[in-house]
Symmetry: C2
Subunit: 276 residues, 2 copies
């Protein structure tokens, strides 16, 4: 079995793909779209892509592709803590570092550490944490990168310091998706998306259905409807809670009362936040 993931190698998404791959081969792709289309076209069996980060919010590229472009189902969700590492050539001392390279999102996440230990280092941003670590491996100067531990292994570098992020509240949710129709409501969560007619109270009427069936909605996000300005698709997570008959009936009613509805699957959650 082959599993696509959003590359490049040496990123947190690669870490997630390894955890969710159960010893199957993982294959990097250039974009969310390419990784998900590889499953849709049958080039690979599954894909692992990020869906939400606790600081940045919903990953729009993944959400739009799952809503509009492919017919895939979520099989499993992984909550992965984002533990940033300072990575450099072996023997590099913190106080020697003249330049720090990373992704633009990773730098502010580690601002406290940088200000305390390397206040004078120059900051350079790169397209991914892995790309930054690669540049560190190619440099002859005293430079360091911020990124995932697995990037240090990939490029033969050392982790100078682990867990340099300001807060431990930073984690990313990744999903494993495939063509397998996962719509039996016997796991932890269900994700559905729907759009309403453009009438006053239309969304309220749909949420009323969850209330009637005692279904708890744990998340709601909205995305613009493609090619319909000012209309939205709502992306909703529902807690299953041994409530499968209610969930089933609520979703059936939403399918009838919405102008567009798609079930993205029922899946188990693997929460790695407490693992060291």
């Amino acid at each position: 079995m082959k599993i696509a993931y959003l590359g490049p190698r040496g990123t947190f998404t690669e870490m997630a793909a390894k955890i969710l791959a159960r010893d199957n081969d993982i294959v990097p792709y250039h974009s969310f779209y390419d990784a998900l289309m590889a499953v849709e076209k049958g080039e690979v069996d599954e894909a692992v892509v990020p869906v939400e980060n606790s600081i940045e919010g919903v990953v729009n590229g993944t959400a739009d592709c799952l809503i509009f472009d492919v017919d895939l189902y979520i099989q499993e969700l992984l909550i992965l803590p984002i533990r940033q590492c300072l990575i450099a050539k072996e023997g590099t001392e913190l106080r020697e570092v003249t330049r720090i390279m990373s992704h633009p999102h990773a730098i502010p996440q580690c601002r406290d550490f940088i200000e305390k230990y390397m206040p004078n280092a120059e900051i350079v941003t790169e397209s991914s944490t892995a790309e930054a670590i690669k540049k560190v491996s190619l440099s002859d100067e005293k430079v360091a990168g911020i990124g995932a531990e697995c990037a240090a292994d990939l490029y033969g570098l050392s982790v100078i310091k682990r867990n340099i992020q300001n807060t431990d509240n930073n984690f990313t949710q990744f999903v494993r998706v495939s063509k397998k129709k996962s719509i039996e409501y016997n796991k932890d969560k269900v994700t559905i998306c729907f759009s309403t007619t453009d009438e006053p109270g239309a969304l309220y009427k749909i949420l009323d259905i969850f209330s009637i069936f005692d279904v708890n909605m744990s998340k709601i996000a909205s995305r613009p409807m493609r090619n319909k300005p000012m209309e939205y698709v709502f992306l909703i997570d529902l807690d299953v809670n041994n409530n499968s008959k209610d969930i089933e009936d609520a979703i059936k009613l939403i399918e009838r009362k919405s102008s567009f509805c798609k079930n993205l699957g029922c899946y188990a959650i693997r929460d790695n936040r407490l693992q060291k």
Copy 2:
């Protein structure tokens, strides 16, 4: 009066700032955060920033800053159509162009035009459409950039072709914000944000308030609550419709029933989509 905007010069945001500035001076800033903080600190009187694009969705940087970092109110909203132009040195012929430069979002928006007229041109992405047009002005080769018409003027280049985007459904909403408390409900729309307690049906209960007061919600988006994983802030637009007493009472009730609530102001909408 001075008005901050998200730079660089020569972008669609600069066009929006000029339209909303009513002949006042406009000043470019490096980020949403810097532009909004300049108002908060009193360096400038107002700021113009993008809040939503019809394809990309809510602009997270602006939303989070207005929710968490500053106490500013929306005074006016502009809906600006994004009309991409092919820009090059005067006399450049379409078929001569060997390289096209633009922002990563602008390239797919113009894919049909590129495939039809310049299928063999190399594609190079830059950090903004304005940066791409600047590089065109500095190049001695047959290159072209895709961006806002105002960038052609700025860098002394010509518009080779106007309106090269695939669809006319691409527009961006910009807001003009200041410290002036705009909470009299006598304009087109109100934006509020709130978070609910983490109980089943909590969001539904809040939306019920709009239903009771016959208030139409025209948009709902969610953002992660800062430093509270798995909790969300909802950003909601309400139509005023000469309904000011109902709006006022509904918002008062939401303030009582939510764990966090902030009124971002009542404002007029200026819709430039039909202007040529």
